[in-house]
């Protein structure tokens, strides 16, 4: 009978994955929002069924569309996510609000405890932000805790703000991924899923692993 068990936390160390998803009106064109919904569902399902984990993968989705950014899915262990409400595309691109929400989430030690592995932030956008986003971006880049997060970015189509997205991506092994069509959204999320899953199985889950994009014609998805 262990005498020390009562002092031990009965929850695995979290590995937070925070998706900032563009749900502006332009995402409704070319099957982009449908592809994003499908890719997110696949990612969450894969995380939920992952075995041999050394960390508990948690997922949050922050959307920016319509008039403001919203916390669509609070940070939740992937295996506890029963259903994921489909994102709909409408309105403007209020990225600044989404960045602010992401900073608040990461800096809150009640939500992301200090024992958590460093978070991954994934930004997906097909346009130019049309709110004040520079200040919240600087806060995210320089925040005491948020500055330590790994940031991946994907620009969709020719109208994406490539400069901003390239600045957002902070992993030299994973520069900005540019998607030319809806199916590329799947490829990007598959790469993110593989990177996070491999981290969660590693004996050193804090080490970021490079994004390895599957070939464009690859329809298989095995882990």
């Amino acid at each position: 009978m262990s005498e020390l068990k009562k002092f031990q936390i009965q929850a695995a160390r979290p590995l937070p994955v925070i998706v900032l998803a563009d749900t502006s009106g332009s995402m409704s064109e070319g099957g982009k929002i449908e592809a994003l919904n499908s890719a997110l569902q696949d990612m969450i399902a894969t995380f939920a069924h992952e075995s041999r984990l050394r960390a508990e993968i948690q997922v949050s989705v922050i959307t920016f569309g319509g008039r403001s950014a919203e916390l669509n899915l609070p940070l939740t262990p992937a295996h506890q996510i029963q259903s994921f409400s489909q994102l709909t595309a409408d309105g403007a691109t209020p990225l600044g609000g989404a960045l602010r929400l992401a900073s608040q989430l990461i800096e809150d030690k009640d939500i992301v405890p200090s024992r958590a592995y460093k978070p991954v932030i994934v930004l997906v956008s097909d346009g130019y932000p049309n709110d004040e986003w520079e200040t919240p971006f600087a806060q995210l880049q320089n925040g005491e805790r948020s500055s330590k997060a790994t940031r991946f970015a994907m620009g969709i189509g020719a109208d994406a703000d490539v400069s901003m997205l390239a600045d957002f991506a902070n992993d030299p092994e994973a520069p900005l991924f540019q998607a030319s069509e809806a199916r590329d959204i799947h490829r990007f999320f598959r790469a993110v899923t593989m990177s996070v899953s491999a981290r969660s199985q590693s004996s050193t889950p804090n080490q970021t692993l490079p994004l390895e994009l599957p070939p464009a014609d690859d329809q298989d998805w095995e882990f």
């Binding site: 262990s2 005498e3 020390l4 068990k5 009562k6 002092f7 031990q8 936390i9 009965q10 929850a11 695995a12 160390r13 041999r52 984990l53 050394r54 960390a55 508990e56 992301v112 200090s114 024992r115 958590a116 592995y117 460093k118 978070p119 005491e144 805790r145 330590k148 590693s202 004996s203 050193t204 889950p205 804090n206 080490q207």
Partner: protein, 233 residues
């Protein structure tokens, strides 16, 4: 005066799974009729960090022989400089955290920490956490090599009452402890050590660490403590 000291280390399930050696090192040494302890956690991202952590523990023993007139900060810096001198320009492959403590035969003590882990102290019956609150996330740590002025957390103390002591552990343990339960945890370890010898205590600690109950835990685990077990004469 009676002092008791013990410690133990076990390899983490994550390293067992990957066939990696234990990167923690732990030492308990009798020094000048007192005790000296150290726990060091080699960085998982550095391939030779198990050698770096072992060297750090041995250097703690070596430097713990210095007179108590030397401050804990100065002693910590001496350990760091010796470690850097030993590994030279290749030091990045060997990076490690370092937690150490020493108590002399009169109950005077010093302790220091750089990097992750936990340094707990009870002196004159008053418990405190010497470690600074972590600013980042799990497994993002300062290292012995980086520990210039200001990075060492140090303390000077006296063990006066039975149950006074100093307890060190690597983050494989400290990250999974309930923060509000640190003092009761400290007291349970003391009470077990007070009725055991060093070898039996090590066996008990190893059994407890092998039976660790936090889901999905993977880190190596090391712990060492020095406690006073009688009243001051």
């Amino acid at each position: 005066m009676r002092l008791a000291a013990s410690g133990a280390r076990v390899i983490g399930p994550g390293h067992l799974q990957d066939g990696v050696v234990n990167q923690d090192a732990m030492g308990v040494y009798g020094v000048s009729q007192g005790w000296c302890i150290a726990v060091c956690d080699g960085l998982g991202s550095r391939r030779l960090s198990h050698i770096g952590s072992s060297k750090a523990v041995r250097l703690v023993k070596q430097h713990a022989r210095q007179a108590f007139a030397v401050s804990a900060q100065t002693l910590g810096q001496a350990i760091r400089l010796s470690w850097l001198e030993h590994f030279g320009t290749r030091y990045r492959d060997y990076e490690t955290t370092c937690l150490w403590a020493r108590v002399d035969a009169r109950g005077r003590g010093q302790a220091g920490q750089v990097g992750d882990g936990l340094l707990l102290l009870k002196s004159r019956g008053a418990f405190r956490v010497v470690s600074a609150a972590r600013q980042g996330f799990g497994n993002q740590t300062d290292t012995l090599a980086q520990a210039g002025e200001g990075l060492w957390q140090t303390c000077e103390f006296e063990l006066v009452l039975p149950g006074d002591g100093v307890l060190l552990m690597t983050d494989g343990i400290s990250d999974d402890l309930i923060p509000e339960q640190l003092e009761p945890f400290f007291d349970v370890v003391y009470r077990r050590l007070a009725r055991s010898n060093r070898r039996r205590m090590r066996t008990w600690l190893e059994r407890e660490m092998h039976a660790w109950s936090t889901p999905l835990h993977g880190d190596d685990k090391s712990i060492a403590g020095i406690f006073r077990t009688d009243h001051k004469q």
